[in-house]
């Protein structure tokens, strides 16, 4: 099955949760639609949800939560729906 890499559209800080007290957006094994957010990138005090981009199943996180990421850096790997 083809894999899809979800990359950060912008440099910033990557978060796996919408806020510190909420559960993670997605967990490995979970199926998502293209519009489902898989994480959040904070840049210059504004927060940008990162959509999965394709429908599929979450394989794994590549970027650590609360870590500094660059534009184009891989955040999450998905298995594309057959």
């Amino acid at each position: 099955m083809p894999r899809h890499e979800v990359v950060s559209p912008i440099p910033g800080v990557f978060y796996r949760r919408p806020d510190p007290n909420s559960p993670e957006y997605v967990k490995p094994g979970q199926t998502v639609t293209a519009d489902d957010p898989v994480g959040l990138v904070e840049v210059m005090k504004s927060f940008h949800p990162v959509p999965a981009g394709v429908a599929g199943a979450v394989v794994d996180f590549v970027a650590e939560g609360d870590s500094v990421v660059d534009a184009g850096q891989v955040l999450v790997i998905l298995e594309v729906e057959g």
Binding site: I10, P11, G12, V13, V43, M44, K45, S46, H48, V68
Partner: protein
């Protein structure tokens, strides 16, 4: 005060370093790993590194800043705006370390930072607040009596609620009588409590704020600023004097702000924010900011008073040395906030390396910035890259000069809001000064629609 640590970054750190230098005070900058080569770090006499790039690990750590001040032999700390500037625990930590905090006492920051307590202080000082009930009311006749005092239109809110559920606006007693039972019933089933708060509904208002200076004993105002043009509660353009405020409202509002400062024994520069009701001309206190504001330069340009230098002199123990009658205003000043954001892509921030830079200059144009070629807009901090502030003998003159100055502003490498600001200058509602706190967002929403309505693609 011999050596001042500036606990901030960006344009305000640069602004504070300059004010200190003008007074012969040595300056210490603090810099995160992302800022070691930034303008404020280069400009200060010395710089102390304070940790990793994210502000939560550097600029927002009180203990690290106090340690930096000790290490550098500073005897005072200026917090700027944002970051730790309105954190009472930081002001207390600075004072406990035997250093001078450039701002009001920690207890005053705490008092004015709590909305309920600030409202109580305002009422004690005879400063008008948005009329409303203190306790919830549970039946129609009590609601009718309360609404008569609050004044229509009245907003009904569930006493136990939140998130806007059950909020209704009623225009007169008949509407209240019919709406109250339903609203109260909904509140009872949603929250188990049918009591309702009543508050005056302000349909359309301007955001006007009064600049104040106090030395702990005496207090004066330095006129008002109009700050209604906001996007997502961030101010975009500010001006002084406020175009929609007549002499009577100005006199009453500035007097109210001074009463509030005297009530708390305010020391330093501060700002009292008010809503001015477009329908009635009434003004209501919302909150007090116990720090220097981003938009302070417009006040400086119409009065000739250096507000940051005043903060430093008051903090060193000088009395105000300036009476109310010494404060006069002349002409009109407007500030434009230039941000590294792309207005045509939903104001997406655009961090990046800065290429060529051209800053506006010439008569009565002031550009407060940290920009320099080869610098970088960091993804870790806010997007404000420059404030272009212009003065003119009247508002039309200032706006013509603003159009000229914004046209001279060039920064390569990052997107900016400069052309959008120029577009705003050309809008009839801006030129005529007829706008309120909702105008900018309404216009932006219209502008974002696909063409056919004159919107820019």
């Amino acid at each position: 005060m011999k050596r001042l640590l500036v606990a901030n970054r960006g344009e305000i750190a640069v602004r504070i370093i300059r004010a200190a230098r003008d007074l012969g005070i040595e300056t210490v900058a603090v810099a995160s790993e992302a800022d070691l080569d930034a303008a404020h770090a280069r400009l200060a006499d010395t710089v102390v590194p304070i940790g990793p790039a994210p502000a939560t690990k550097s600029y927002l750590l009180p203990a690290g800043i106090v340690a930096a001040a000790r290490e550098a032999g500073a005897d005072a700390v200026h917090p700027g705006y944002g970051f730790l500037s309105e954190r009472a625990d930081f002001a207390a930590a600075v004072a406990d370390a035997g250093l001078t905090f450039v701002g009001p006492d920690a207890s005053v920051i705490e008092q004015m930072g709590d909305k309920v307590r600030a409202r109580q202080v305002a009422m004690a000082a005879g400063v008008p607040t948005v009329p409303g009930t203190v306790d919830g009311v549970s039946d129609v006749s009590a609601a009718v009596a309360a609404a008569a005092e609050v004044g229509y239109p009245v907003m009904l809110k569930a006493a136990a609620g939140g998130g806007g559920r059950g909020i209704r606006v009623v225009n007169d007693e008949a509407e209240l009588r019919s709406a109250f039972p339903t609203a109260s019933g909904e509140a009872a089933s949603a929250f188990g409590d049918g009591r309702m708060y009543l508050e005056r509904f302000i349909r359309s208002a301007r955001h006007v704020e009064v600049q104040v200076l106090g030395d702990g004993t005496d207090a004066i105002h330095v006129f008002e600023r109009e700050c209604s043009l906001q996007r997502r509660r961030q101010k975009v353009i500010e001006e002084a004097p406020a175009p929609g405020v007549d002499a009577d409202i100005r006199a009453a509002m500035t007097a109210a702000a001074v009463r509030l400062c005297r009530e708390v024994g305010y020391r330093s520069a501060g700002t009292c924010e008010f809503l001015v009701d477009d329908d009635t001309g009434e003004f209501f206190f919302i909150e007090m900011n116990t720090r220097i504001q981003v938009e302070h330069p417009v006040t400086e340009l119409i009065t000739g008073i250096d507000l940051v230098a005043r903060q430093l002199r008051i903090a060193s123990g000088e009395p105000l040395n300036i009476g109310q009658s010494d404060v006069t205003k002349r002409g009109h000043a407007v500030e434009f906030r230039i941000c590294a954001e792309d207005p045509d892509r939903g104001f997406m921030p655009g961090p990046g390396r800065i290429g060529h830079v051209e800053l506006p200059g010439g008569p009565w144009v002031r550009t407060d910035t940290w920009l320099r070629p080869g610098g970088a807009v960091s993804p870790f901090y806010d997007s404000l890259i420059a404030k272009v502030v212009v003065w003119g003998e009247d508002r039309p003159t200032a706006l013509r000069r603003a159009r000229r100055a914004l046209g001279e502003f060039t920064v390569e490498g990052v997107p900016t809001t400069t052309t959008l600001l120029t577009e705003i200058i050309d809008q009839p509602w801006f030129a005529s000064g007829e706008f309120n706190t909702g105008t900018l967002e309404d216009w932006l929403a219209e502008r974002a629609k696909p063409s056919g309505t004159g919107a820019v693609a």
